[in-house]
Structures are given as C-alpha cells and as structure tokens.
Symmetry: C2
C-alpha cells in the first residue's frame, strides 16, 4: 500500500478514510487532527497554562509530546495512586520522569498517599476502577486549580469516548450523556476546564504515533483493569468498525451534533446541585463522593458528580 499523499510506502491504512499514509504524512495528519480538535471544540489557546494528566501510557505521553510540538508548552502531571501490584505505579512514574527529562518538559508529581496517608490498594477489599478514577480526578483537578492552570488535558482518544458513549447509551444514563463532551467548562471556581485533544484520533492511530516517535511508554495496563467493561465495549465497537469503517467516528460526532437533546437534563442537574457539607464542592448529596470515600463510608457511594466532585478536605 502506498501513501495517498506522496506515494511513499504507507505505514498505516486508515480504513475509515480509505487511504494509506507514510510515516511523514501520518505524523502531519496526527498533529493536524489534534490542532483541529483544539480549535473546533475551543479547548484552549497558546496563551493559556495547560496541564496534561500523564499516566505513562501511550495516549497521555503521545498527547504531551504533540502539545509540546504544537507550541502549547504543557506541564505534565503524574498522580501516583499507590498501585504496588506488579510495581505498577513505580514503573509508570519512572517512564513519565524519563520522558519529561528527555524532552526538558516540566513535570508535577502528586501521590494519593501524600494527600491522604494511604494508597488506593489500602482501601476496601479490592481496587475498584470507579473509586480510583474518582480519587484521581480529585487530585488532578485540585492540582490544576491550585496551580493556576487554565485547562486540564487528558489522553482520551476516540475509542475511549465511543466506548463510554456506548456504555452511557446502553444504560440510558442521560445525566452522563448530557455531560460527555470533548471540552467541559469550569462551571464552578473549584473546578478546572477539562479537554480531550485526542478525541479525533483512534486508539490505533494514537498508539502508532507514540511508537513512531520512539517514545518509551508503560505498555502494561493497570493490573486491576482486567475485564473492565469499557474494554468489552471497545471490542464490540471494533467489530462494527471492521464491518463498517467510520462507525466509531460517526457515532461520536453525530452524538455531539445531537447533544441539544440532553440540554434540559444538563440544566436540571446543574440546578439540583448543592454544596458538600464538609468541603463545599458541588454535589447532589450531603457529602460529596470524595468526602464519603475519605470518611470510609464506601458501602454507599451514592451518586457521584463526574468531573465535579473534587474536595478540599
């Protein structure tokens, strides 16, 4: 297969677009798609302070690299959740630190143990992705707000977003649907704007970019993520994608076009918000999810305010 643009040997076949691209044209394609996402969804400008949440995986390191190359001068943030099994957190941290050093990029490291005295493995009988994610969002949001960053970027790609969308749709989680977006404004002084600049790139494209750039990344998934439902939805969508290339992209972008359907729900949810009795963060309960978590009432997590449940204990 040859590159559709310059006829050199292709390194990837973009089936959804029915064209192959060589290494150089693919690199330009990736930068263009990210710049396009940033502009189209009004994520941030070159004058704003950008924080990138990096896990050490291919997506977040690739994103950090891309933003630096596009001239956004982003700071990295690694949050050590204290996952000692298979040395996961330690190894991830080393990968991130090595990358930052090699590129001369600024890196902030935070750890759950420093904030709370315990790592995620010391809570309850097993590590649950929703709890871990909630605590991680708390730390990343708080670091962004206190550091004066205008926006917090995460490495979610199209496959991630489409899988979450499928999950939200299969369960008709209209509140989640109302909030799912490539960019989420900071609608409270204790929240930061969130953006997902890889949202127009598939997982395959994002992975290939990181590999071609020679970036050393953590290629083992979190030892607790095995069997996560999101992976099932990704596999399902890949089956449809194989049969009808472009399905994932269409599913996600048509959803964004029709987001107005959920505007009423979003408004109702915002109007129903109270402030957490302990920390003052927006919540629908007396205590927000993080405060309940900290106080040890893990049995009844209640309803979490995704992207908006970070506390200042």
């Amino acid at each position: 297969m040859k590159c559709k643009v310059c006829k050199r040997p292709a390194v990837i076949n973009l089936r959804a677009q029915n064209r192959g691209l060589c290494e150089g044209c693919f690199d330009r394609y990736v930068l263009d798609r990210v710049e396009k996402a940033i502009k189209r969804f009004k994520m941030f400008t070159r004058k704003e302070k950008v924080l990138v949440a990096v896990s050490g995986g291919k997506d977040s390191l690739g994103l950090w690299d891309i933003l630096a190359r596009l001239g956004y001068n982003p700071t990295g943030l690694f949050v050590d959740m204290g996952i000692h099994r298979h040395g996961h957190s330690e190894r991830s941290r080393k990968v991130v630190e090595a990358f930052a050093r090699s590129r001369g990029l600024e890196l902030i490291v935070e750890s759950l143990a420093d904030w709370w005295g315990k790592g995620i493995e010391e809570i309850g009988r097993r590590v649950l992705c929703p709890t871990c994610g909630m605590a991680k969002r708390y730390l990343t949001n708080r670091t962004a707000v206190e550091g004066g960053f205008h926006v917090l970027c995460t490495g979610h790609n199209l496959d991630d977003e489409a899988a979450v969308l499928l999950s939200n749709t299969l369960n008709w989680q209209v509140g989640y649907l109302a909030r799912q977006s490539p960019v989420l404004e900071a609608w409270h002084p204790r929240l930061t704007r969130k953006a997902k600049p890889l949202v127009l790139l598939t997982e395959r494209e994002s992975a290939l970019y990181t590999i071609l750039r020679g970036i050393e990344y953590m290629d083992e998934p979190c030892p607790y993520s095995r069997g996560a439902t999101t992976l099932v939805y990704k596999r399902l969508l890949n089956q449809v994608e194989w049969r009808s290339p472009g399905t994932k992209q269409r599913f996600y972008t048509l959803f964004l076009k029709n987001k107005g359907l959920f505007e009423g729900v979003a408004r109702e949810e915002r109007e129903g918000l109270k402030e957490c009795e302990r920390c003052g963060q927006p919540t629908w309960e007396g205590l927000c999810a993080f405060c309940r978590f900290v106080e040890g009432s893990h049995g009844d997590r209640g309803r979490e305010v995704p992207e908006g449940d970070q506390v200042r204990p």
Copy 2:
C-alpha cells in the same frame, strides 16, 4: 437446574432473571409477558379486530398462537413478496396455511405480484431489505385499513427491537428514535395502529415457546437477509448480554422511559409532513417512497416515512 416456581426439571435458564422454569411454568410466563406488554403499552383490547402479520417464522407464528390462546381471536395476514429463490415465499406460505388450518384460524393471503404485477426479485439488480420491508409495510397496512382492523401486530421480539435501537443509536437517527415504540398510534386515517406484543420476550424465549408448542415453522431465513446489519447488532448485544444478563431488556426499557427526549423531534417531523402527490399518503417528499418505487425511480429512494408510507395507487 430446577424450576424456580415448582421445582420440576427446568427447560430454560432465564439468566437475566436468574431463574430456571419448567415447561408448564415457562408457558405461563410467556403468556403473562405478552399480556403484560399488551396492557402496559395499551396495544389493543379483546373487543378490537386484530390482524397479525405472519411470515411463517417462529416469532410471528408463536405470536399468532399466543394471541389466539389469550382470547384475542386474531386474523393472520401472509404477504407473498415473490421470493422464488430457494422457494422461499412458496414454502413460507405453505407453513402459514398449514398452521392456520390446524388451528382453525382465519388467514388472509396477499401477494406483491397481484398488487403490482411483479415480485420483489424483478426489481433492480438485487433484492434490498429496506425496499422489500417498505413494500411489505405498504401491503400489510393497506390490508389492515381496508379490512377494518383496529390494529396490525408484528412478531418483533426484544432482540429485534434492541438491535434496531442500537443501530438507530450508533447512527443517532433521532427521527427513527422518536418513532421507535412498542405501539404506534394511527395518526392518519390511512394508517393503522401498529403493535409488537412480543417486545418483552427475548428471541430465545420466543423460539423456545414455538418449539415447545410443536408449531411447524419456516426455519430458513430469507435468502437475501444474509449479512444483514441487524444480525451483526444482535450478535453484539448477545455478547454484552452474556457478560451482563439483562442488558438488552434494560437498554430497551430505559430507552422507552427516556423517550421524552425525542418528543420535540417527533413533533417537528409530524409538522413537516406533506401528502404524496400521487396517492395522498403522508410523506416528506413530493412522492412517497412506495410511489417512487412503483414509478421505477429506485435510484433515489429519498427519505421514507417508516410505518407511514403506504399508498393507494
């Protein structure tokens, strides 16, 4: 495995409900589910004239049998579309006629060739499911309206509805989502009410019912349906169902609970309707889909009014 109700040996394990049922209790369960669907969605009463579209497959023959047992006194309608490949239409018709005779039920037989001079195989280069479905809906609707029936029932089961819902959702077909319903009122004098009484039963339950009742049915699918996208979506949903029993039911019933989201779209679509220049049926184009089909302009089918595009040429 034993029957949860009476402890006899179970014939089916209803994983979504975490219980097995024996033959007798399963039979009662099926009748109850159908009666429940008819009542909950206000489909029809025992005083109304009910027409059942029967293809000869397990779902439609099972439905006809159930409605008769529940005391609804339904008339069957078989539409011969002229699918001669593998003798499909001929064999299906014989199966339906034999069933009607054995039960002493009234059967109406219509054929596309009688109405239009040609069978579906004589149109274009290949038989397309959407065209065939549209023509079939035309004939069934017209037969129901002219025969003075209050309602036209089809054998769509939960798997059918969930697969269509998944397709409509993956493509964010908001117009289709607004119209997808277990019962659709006749909002025009030339349309009949449509109902799907098997909507609370899975394909597996519907098939087992027909088998246990000893009903001879046409067990070969239409020779043109191979590779139909709906089958792909059914397989995908079955994969999720296997992992999380109850997903299909939840997906469909939560959608119905949230149908209000699409009410604005449904209203807009109804308000945008015109009448077909040739036959007067509701349509969004100058000519409705069936008239365009009849006039041979198959290349540009335009937008069809599903469930509402039947003409009187």
